[in-house]
């Protein structure tokens, strides 16, 4: 099971917003600070925090909270299996 609060904490820290602002609706379009540079930092921070490696092909595309959760969940399951 993915720890959604931990994911929200990471996103809030990297994107420099309050954690309450991270929700299902959060995406690159809704957060001003979330540009392509920040995105790299975000991927790096998520990998580090959850101990996973996000595949190249997904790394660029996970530009919303729900997409990140989906890909992270896959990676965590793969690791557990």
């Amino acid at each position: 099971m993915i720890n959604e609060q931990a994911l929200k904490d990471v996103m809030a820290a990297v994107l420099e917003v309050e954690v309450d602002l991270i929700s299902e609706a959060t995406s690159m379009d809704t957060v001003e600070a979330w540009d392509s540079i920040k995105h790299l930092t975000l991927v790096l921070a998520i990998e580090e925090e959850f101990g996973v490696s996000i595949p190249d092909e997904d790394a660029a595309d996970i530009t919303s909270y729900t997409l990140i959760r989906l890909v992270l969940d896959e990676q965590l399951k793969r690791r557990a299996a």
């Binding site: 904490d9 990471v10 820290a13 990297v14 420099e16 392509s36 540079i37 790299l40 930092t41 790096l44 921070a45 580090e48 925090e49 190249d56 790394a59 660029a60």
Partner: protein, 597 residues
């Protein structure tokens, strides 16, 4: 052990100082801690590279918080270091980090090298050299220009002959070092050493490099930022001067009071004696670079003397020790006495002891003293000496600093001579003091700047000046940099006083007046006034203007200008302005000092 943490600030600080704290947690801790920093402690850096190094800003902020200063970093344009320099300078940024990335000098440069005609590589080297030359010669306004050396992205297959990529890399790095060498504000940071330390796979991440020219991992940037902090002495927050060492189980293995001089472990040929022998070699190397070594030990003084003078395995001998406090008093009192005797601030001391109790008691009594504990495992001792070397040496050392111990010992010999004379003046006369005052002496720019950075107590305005600032003053008309070299019959104390003056209409304004505390108390601070009056008169000035600006450490000179006989013009609590007409000014004569200009 204390598992409960007093407040969120302490918890966040503990997180930041723990190796391996994740990026997200680091950012969270910064958010908590940065607002707690004193508003006046801040510095700004520009980042310039031919790859994306934005994340370095986060780790520079972290190092800033650890040093107690707020760091703001802003990123320049891609691969435009000269443009970046102009923009950063115009924006008033204080320092700059420049990180040229070898493999991106040309696209996939490491792969291209074997295919390129040698002339093209020569061309590239020439153009880099020109760019570096321009950059370094235009960077004079910066406090620091921190430049990463080049390193490889790939590794060579061992074919038994020198690798062509390595050969080009070495050439380019040599060119970079050569261009950087004449420039005082430029500090090179060895990126190859960081890659070696972390391993290539932990230092660079090809996924992000190939996708978006972002080669470095958080671990690399964290280490790089740490080296930046060391090279800038914690963004100018500290200047360590003295290393205070415990004796038993710090300088040698065992306890001399119990095991006897023959029972302690210190020699090159056995274990654990060789651990301490190696450590002493490192301490001695620090002493050679100008670090003052002191002893602070709970022992019978005679036992420690016996070891220092006679033990065949010792590397350190009495002449290497600036001062020793070997007694049964508490260490905090002894550290205070050491600081007082050397006339340096407690925050210039680094204290090393093997006892957790002693370390903790010093930390709580004297939080401004840096305390390091000798590792429990003897084989870890080298890590401690490495840390000490980076604390003392990474900021650079000037040649004059190198014989510090000898200078302090001369002063001690002079103190001992004092007791034999009837009056203080007789004693001073016997010293045969001389002061040589030089004006705009460009050969001593580094030492003069260093003195403005380090002097706290006898410093009237605490005006910190980089070597570039000093050089600029020397070369400007109507500005003068006076430097004082003090000597007595025991030897030269070196360049130990600085006056920065300028002419404003018909007034000689003293912007800064400072001296090393080593020479205070003998009249040197008063002996220089006739020379200042001469300078003012020669420049057609009618008055001298000077000010005292209070700092946390310069209370001892709050009334210095009064004592020198200057008229108080404007008196505010932390800021006094003096204005003295030359016509009414009779500087004291100091009969026992010979002044030459």
């Amino acid at each position: 052990m204390n598992d409960t943490v007093a407040n969120p600030g302490d918890a966040a600080r503990a997180l930041l100082s723990t190796p391996g704290t994740t990026l997200a947690r680091t950012l969270g801790a910064l958010k908590t801690l940065e607002p707690l920093l004193p508003a006046e402690r801040q510095t700004s850096l520009g980042l310039s590279s031919n790859v994306n190094i934005d994340l370095l800003a986060t780790y520079l902020r972290k190092q800033g918080v650890l040093a107690g200063t707020r760091v703001t970093a802003c990123t320049g344009s891609h691969d435009d270091v000269l443009g970046d320099l102009a923009r950063f300078t115009a924006a008033g940024l204080q320092s700059m980090v420049y990180l040229p990335f070898f493999d991106n000098l040309l696209p996939a440069f490491e792969q291209q090298i074997v295919h390129l005609p040698p002339e093209q590589i020569d061309d590239l080297e020439q153009s880099l050299r020109q760019r570096w030359h321009l950059l370094f010669s235009q960077a004079g306004a910066l406090r620091y220009l921190l430049v990463g050396t080049l390193h490889r992205l790939g590794t060579a297959v061992d074919t038994g002959v020198p690798d062509p990529v390595q050969a080009v890399l070495d050439r380019f790095n040599a060119a970079l070092r050569e261009e950087a060498a004449p420039h005082r504000s430029v500090r090179l940071i060895d990126t190859e050493a960081i890659v070696r330390q972390l391993g290539l796979r932990s230092a660079v991440d090809l996924r992000f490099y190939l996708r978006s020219t972002t080669p470095y991992t958080a671990a690399f940037l964290d280490e790089l930022a740490q080296r930046v902090a060391q090279a800038t002495r914690g963004f100018d927050t500290h200047y360590y001067k003295a290393l205070v060492l415990d004796c038993d189980n710090t300088l040698w293995g065992g306890i001399v009071g119990e095991d006897g001089p023959d029972g302690i472990a210190i020699d090159p040929h056995s274990y654990p004696g060789r651990v301490f022998w190696r450590a002493q070699l490192d301490f001695l190397a620090l002493e050679r670079q100008g670090v003052l070594l002191c002893l602070c030990s709970k022992n019978n003084a005679a036992d420690v003397d016996e070891v220092l003078v006679h033990h065949p395995g010792m590397v350190l001998r009495p002449q290497h020790i600036a001062t020793a406090r070997v007694n049964w008093d508490d260490k905090a009192s002894n550290l205070r006495a050491i600081a007082q005797q050397l006339n340096i601030g407690l925050d210039s001391l680094v204290f090393v002891d093997d006892s957790a109790f002693e370390c903790e008691s010093v930390r709580s009594a004297l939080p401004m003293v840096q305390v390091l504990q000798v590792p429990a495992q003897p084989s870890d001792y080298a890590q401690l000496t490495h840390t000490l070397k980076s604390m003392f040496l990474a900021g650079g050392v000037s040649a004059e600093s190198r014989d510090k111990t000898a200078q302090y010992r001369q002063r001690d010999a002079a103190e001992q001579a004092r007791s034999q004379f009837a009056s203080h003046e007789d004693y001073l006369a016997s010293l045969q003091l001389s002061v040589a005052i030089a004006c705009n002496d460009e050969a001593n720019v580094d030492r003069i700047s260093e003195l403005t950075q380090k002097s706290n107590q006898f410093n009237l305005t605490t005006l910190r000046q980089s070597p570039a600032d000093i050089l600029q003053r020397m070369r400007q008309a109507d500005r003068w940099v006076l430097s004082l070299t003090v000597a007595d019959r025991f030897g030269s104390a070196g360049l130990t006083g600085v006056v920065l003056a300028r002419k404003l209409e018909q007034t000689l304004v003293i912007d800064a007046l400072l001296m090393s505390c080593r020479v205070i108390g003998r009249g040197v601070e008063f002996a220089l006034w006739p020379a200042l009056v001469d300078l003012a008169a020669a420049q057609g000035c009618h008055a001298i203007e000077a000010r005292y600006i209070a700092s946390r450490k310069n209370a001892q000179v709050a009334d210095f200008y009064d004592r020198a006989g200057l008229a108080l013009h404007n008196d505010q609590p932390d800021h006094k302005v003096y204005r003295q007409l030359l016509a009414d000014f009779q500087p004291k004569t100091i009969a026992w000092i010979q002044v030459t200009t």
